[in-house]
């Protein structure tokens, strides 16, 4: 990059704080594989949704009151009296759902193309931490409107911690700041809900730093070796990301303006009543798979009496441990998957199991939304079992036993092949 081309003011600043050459290197000339498909748009989309959530959240915080007597009404005041308040609220509410849609697709992309494999293990691990931070943020955010689901969802999930042996009850009292979910709980959730997104921003920064160390993976899963394999990020991927953003915004806008309560629960439009439990307590849709795993462990599962730790293991504790394990196990993906070939494009057996796993996750989500009765209990137990079988048995074995197809020599070779073919 020629210094002669830079405006003298830019040069002056850059000499003292190299933001301009930083941006030039990391966002402009930054070499990116030329064969990325649209599944690679979801990372930048996630970043943009994070910004949208931060801005709308800060705006809402200007009008919200975090006190049990005023919270519900302050949200309704936003909806009815604050200029464009309904728009801010619906963007924030639906943005939360959009954030999880985008991030789940982003993660499945990673699972399919082996983006978690060396040297990108830390990149993947940071991503899982971002997911955990998002889940904490979303959980606390949902409590703030203080509707029936806010209150009872908070009660159910905080009560889970009582399953921890010996210290469980003390932990729950600590979390609540009292003897049930009440004003102290709401207040601290507001404080932490405002804090966590900035923690997410920090994690995203480190996530991007790790990404830039070894650059993006690509659909072929082979390393970008030569200059021929890559193109500069700007203008190619900046413009592709903007187009992807346009498509995403159409999807987002449809929900905000025409179906703003599609992802929500009607019960949350009823003010919280600690003396009346709603007939079905359901978390937001993006938590449903984990909810299904949690509830899969019913009290009459015979195995408990056989476990060596049966004297502290309860169905509740088993459910809690499995629920957290379902996410924490993802941290081990780079080591569970022992294949030398990254992309499922060249691993037909692994690819089949990927799709089965995908469907398993969808079914888990459906189960989580149903009342724990009848056939849903069995489906929930089967899909929960399969989830862990996939991660702990299928992936390690298939990845090591399957003989994958041979990936092409290089990206540019493959691209030329495709053009000619």
């Amino acid at each position: 990059m020629s210094n002669k081309q830079m405006h003298p003011l830019i040069q002056w600043i850059d000499y003292r704080l190299p933001i301009f050459s930083f941006m030039e290197h990391e966002l402009h000339e930054y070499p990116t594989p030329k064969n990325l498909n649209y599944w690679w748009n979801f990372g930048s989309l996630a970043g943009i949704v994070l910004v949208i959530m931060l801005v709308t959240g800060i705006v809402l915080a200007m009008h919200y009151t975090a006190h049990v007597d005023y919270a519900f009404d302050s949200v309704e005041r936003i909806m009815r009296d604050v200029n464009y308040g309904w728009l801010m609220r619906y963007i924030h509410m639906n943005g939360g759902s959009m954030f999880f849609i985008v991030v789940y697709i982003h993660m499945f992309r990673g699972l399919y193309y082996g983006s978690y494999q060396a040297p990108r293990e830390l990149l993947w691990i940071l991503g899982v931490f971002i997911l955990l931070a998002m889940m904490a943020t979303a959980f606390m955010g949902y409590v703030l409107p203080w509707g029936q689901m806010s209150f009872w969802g908070a009660t159910v999930i905080t009560n889970l911690f009582s399953a921890i042996p010996w210290v469980g009850d003390s932990i729950v009292t600590l979390l609540w700041g009292g003897f049930s979910v009440d004003n102290p709980t709401l207040n601290r959730f507001f404080s932490l809900h405002y804090l966590m997104p900035f923690v997410i921003v920090g994690l995203v920064f480190v996530h991007l730093w790790a990404l830039h160390m070894h650059k993006s993976n690509n659909p072929l899963g082979i390393d970008a070796k030569t200059d021929q394999d890559c193109i500069p990020f700007h203008p190619y991927y900046t413009v592709k990301d903007m187009f992807g953003l346009g498509v995403f915004l159409i999807f987002f806008a449809y929900f905000v303006f025409f179906a703003p309560n599609f992802f929500g629960e009607p019960d949350n439009y009823i003010p919280a009543n600690p003396l009346q439990t709603p007939p079905h307590i359901v978390p937001e849709w993006y938590f449903l798979p984990y909810y299904a795993i949690l509830r899969a462990f019913t009290a009459d599962f015979f195995l408990y009496s056989y476990t060596p730790i049966a004297w502290i293991m309860t169905a509740k504790l088993a459910g809690v441990i499995s629920m957290f394990a379902s996410i924490l196990l993802l941290l081990l993906m780079p080591w569970l998957d022992g294949s030398k070939v990254k992309s499922s494009k060249f691993r037909p057996v692994y690819r089949m199991f990927f799709w089965i796993f995908f469907i398993d996750c969808i079914v888990l989500g459906v189960v989580g939304g149903k009342p724990p009765e009848g056939m849903w209990i069995y489906i929930g137990q089967a899909t929960t079992t399969y989830y862990f079988i996939h991660l702990l048995i299928v992936v390690p074995i298939v990845s090591r036993l399957e003989r994958p197809k041979t990936p092409p020599e290089s990206i540019s070779a493959a691209v030329t092949q495709q053009a000619e073919g």
């Binding site: 187009f243 025409f258 439009y269 849709w285």
Partner: protein, 262 residues
């Protein structure tokens, strides 16, 4: 080209599968499983271009004030917001002035009553929730400001509920203080049938059948729950049209820039 088509097909199928799952999962589990789905009504405010039928909403306000407000509060609505269903300033002042509102304390430290103003909320018929429950067989009549958003398929459900009072079928026992309703989960509702033919004399002369009153009050309550609906949908059309146009432009730009790579 064929590869792209295959990929697009797979993505579309996956997306449709997801939506199918979402739709399937989002039907709420009914308590006893035998509460019928409320029949679909046609509402002036549904669809992408829906608006509130002003005449129906105003008749609905009359039904609310003359029938429902005896037990149900509407505390999230202020009188001044009635401009949203076509009332003029002096009409709003008159409606507000018909109620007495508690204010104070005055300079003597006492609370006093005054005539309502447009800035006031609709008054509650009871002092507090416990008083409401005590006067109604132990169950406080819920506030109606958000009722159509607080129930799945709100407007259809509300209409079905108000018109769904019936004789209990043989074998079903209705406890004291309860009423049989076809669409209420569990079928036994504490509210007595609120509407009767000609129960209200409409100011515009429309015949006040139970079905008519149910439709009108549901329209009014749908407005009360979502006063921003018309602005939201009209802004939505403009936003979507802009985004579709702009995304089209972006697609052209993308293709232009990627020409030499493809």
């Amino acid at each position: 080209m064929r590869n792209n088509m295959k990929r697009l097909m797979k993505t579309t199928i996956a997306a449709l599968a997801l939506f199918g799952a979402a739709a399937f999962a989002s039907t709420p589990a009914q308590a006893a499983g035998d509460t019928p789905k409320p029949p679909k009504q046609s509402w002036s405010f549904s669809g992408m271009f829906g608006t509130f039928d002003r005449a129906a909403a105003q008749r609905g306000l009359q039904v609310y004030r003359e029938v429902c407000s005896g037990c149900h509060s509407l505390r999230l609505v202020h009188f001044r917001q009635l401009a949203g269903i076509g009332y003029k300033e002096d009409q709003i002042k008159a409606i507000a002035a018909e109620v007495d509102v508690q204010d104070g304390p005055n300079d003597e430290g006492e609370m006093f009553e005054r005539k309502g103003l447009p800035a006031d909320r609709f008054p509650s018929p009871f002092e507090n929730d416990k008083a409401a429950a005590a006067a109604n067989n132990g169950k406080a009549p819920p506030d109606l400001s958000l009722m159509t958003k607080a129930r799945f398929n709100g407007p259809d459900y509300l209409h079905a509920l108000i018109t769904g009072f019936a004789e209990a079928p043989s074998g079903v026992e209705v406890p004291d203080g309860g009423n049989y309703n076809t669409y209420f989960p569990g079928h036994i509702i504490a509210m007595a049938p609120p509407l009767a033919d000609d129960g209200v004399e409409y100011q515009d002369g429309t015949k006040a059948t139970v079905g008519q009153m149910a439709k009108d009050v549901t329209t009014f309550l749908s407005w009360a729950a979502e006063p921003e609906l018309e602005e939201r949908k009209s802004m939505g059309i403009k936003v979507l049209l802009f985004l579709i146009f702009f995304t089209g432009l972006l697609f052209a730009v993308k293709r232009k820039i990627w020409e030499d790579v493809h």
